[in-house]
């Protein structure tokens, strides 16, 4: 009894420590982004928005933001669409080599990013498509589609397989069954996949750095600022990126959770 209790307490402390370890750097970055001192030292200096002003007055940052937004929005739409198609194929059809198909479709995230970036650069420059915004988009779609597919696949696996046939049975053509039954059923997962792929694309540095040429995305510009001078501008922009990504990921998570709960059998 007593041993159980002390184990429980120990485990709680352990979890607390893990969370501290994970979030301390982010919190530090957040705090120092409002600090007047140029270097991160304690005690803190005064409160300032100076670093945010510096960032926002830098036209390069605005360009990077534009590139990142265009990329992540486009990537989220395209990779979610392809991911949905791949997940639906898995849900609906049985065919020879299906396991190989699934393994291949889910493979890209396991490739080290540097390798992926290099390969993308080599391939895209070979076909003369390197150095544009759409280069980043192509590369990111390859990386993000498996995430979208995985999320939508889980959702479709929760679906009663007779639902689609029930729609046909009630007079829906295959296309209408798709738009009236499959898509509405998978909608929380679809939106969730869009948020998540947008977040992945928005954050991703290595591949973007290789293929982007002059179209720098936000993570690429962060590295450039870092290489130029070390000051809390980095913290400011880092905080911004963190908030965008976390918002997207949290929205994705909440959507998946609420939907599943609501449909739990009464």
């Amino acid at each position: 009894m007593n041993a159980d209790r002390s184990i429980a307490i120990f485990l709680r402390i352990y979890i607390g420590v893990v969370f501290c370890f994970v979030f301390a750097p982010i919190v530090a970055s957040f705090v120092f982004s409002f600090n007047t001192d140029r270097f991160p030292t304690i005690p803190l200096g005064g409160f300032t928005l100076h670093w945010y002003e510096t960032i926002l007055s830098d036209p390069d940052v605005w360009d990077a933001l534009r590139v990142s937004l265009i990329t992540s929005v486009t990537v989220s739409v395209i990779s979610t669409f392809i991911g949905f198609c791949a997940a639906y194929t898995d849900f609906r059809y049985k065919f020879f080599g299906k396991n190989a198909y699934l393994a291949l479709a889910l493979l890209p995230p396991t490739i080290p990013l540097v390798i992926m970036g290099l390969a993308m650069l080599a391939w895209l420059s070979q076909i003369g498509m390197s150095g544009y915004i759409h280069s980043i988009i192509i590369a990111h779609v390859v990386m993000c589609t498996p995430f979208a597919m995985a999320i939508i696949r889980i959702r479709l696996a929760q679906m009663d397989p007779s639902l689609e046939a029930a729609a046909w049975n009630l007079g829906a053509s295959e296309w209408r069954a798709m738009s009236n039954v499959i898509v509405p059923f998978a909608l929380p997962a679809i939106i969730s996949a869009m948020c998540l792929t947008a977040a992945v694309s928005f954050d991703e540095f290595a591949v973007a750095w290789f293929v982007s040429g002059l179209n720098k995305s936000i993570p690429v510009i962060i590295l450039e600022i870092l290489q130029g001078q070390v000051d809390p501008q980095i913290n400011a922009i880092g905080t911004f990126v963190f908030i965008v990504s976390m918002t997207l990921v949290i929205v994705a998570q909440v959507l998946l959770m609420t939907r599943t709960k609501k449909e739990a059998p009464a």
Binding site: L163, W168, S173
Partner: protein, 365 residues
Amino acid sequence: MTAPLVEFESVVKRFGNFVAVEHLDLAIHKGEFVAIMGPSGCGKTTTLRMLAGLEQPSEGEIRLSGKRMNEVKPSERDTPLVWQTLALFPFLNVVKNVEFGLKMRGLDATARTAKAMEWLERLEIAEFSQRDISQLSGGQRQRVALARALVTEPEILLLDEPLSALDAHLVIRMQGVLTRLQRELGITFVYVTHSQSEAFAMADRVVIMSNGLVEQIGEPREIYREPVSRFVAEFVGRNNIVEGAVSHLSRGKVALTSDIGTLVASKPAKLQAAQGDRLSFVVSADVMSVSDAKPRSENVVQCELISEEFIGSVVTLFLEAGPGVELKAQIQQRDIEKIDTSPGAKLYLSWPSSNVHILPQPQKR
């Protein structure tokens, strides 16, 4: 007689090497309530799915109102199905679920809502029209599924074990709802089930299937009293089957020498049997009489009581009539008090020869 609404002609369905339906000839008439019954894997659900167009027959032809349906897509048939899982759309509320079929037929929003509400009222669930499916009980969901299937006013309704997920008391109630609906609407119901009580309670005709083949088609009473094969006799009801060799044939009677003595049955006019032929006698458990003292009548067998099963007003006794020969007798609760029911008690079973059904001799297929 008018042409049948549904015709299966020499229909075969294979899945790879597995033959789900081996050879099906079946005609279903307008307004009939037909139940297809059999153990799982007998091909009954496949038959229903072929009628809905969800499976294509490998051979043969399926006709609906005389028109060949083999290649017609499910969405272009008017054969709504009530699914075993109900398959209600969880992202739509009750009324939107019911409207679905009308929406697919291109009815405008007000007309279809009005129509859907009509059906919800008819099935006494109008008050739940705005609820989510997850907020309904099993019985209410069942009614939504029925309303959704019937809202397009089809000529035929297919039902795939729709009551299998319900509690026993709800099953009885829904049987009433279904029977009443079918009578009122006058449309054809094709009802697939593994439950004898559901099939016999509702259907005009019952089709018994086993291993992809039709064993018997007939009215419930006919199937119950006059099974055509050992399979049907064993599958349906509480039947005792005794096999033996014909020892004596007279004008009105057949006598059989079996492991439990000589048994007598009335001889049906069309029975073609000679002395020495092997026959099977079927005696339903509910025509058995049980007594302590040896009765002075025909077909008396002395048995030892093994166990009893009490289900309300009737009791089923399991008795051993000889080594390895078990007989069942179903008697009224009030009659059981007159006899000794301690395990191992010696009891006499008897039954009138007029209540013996003789199985047709097996034909070579």
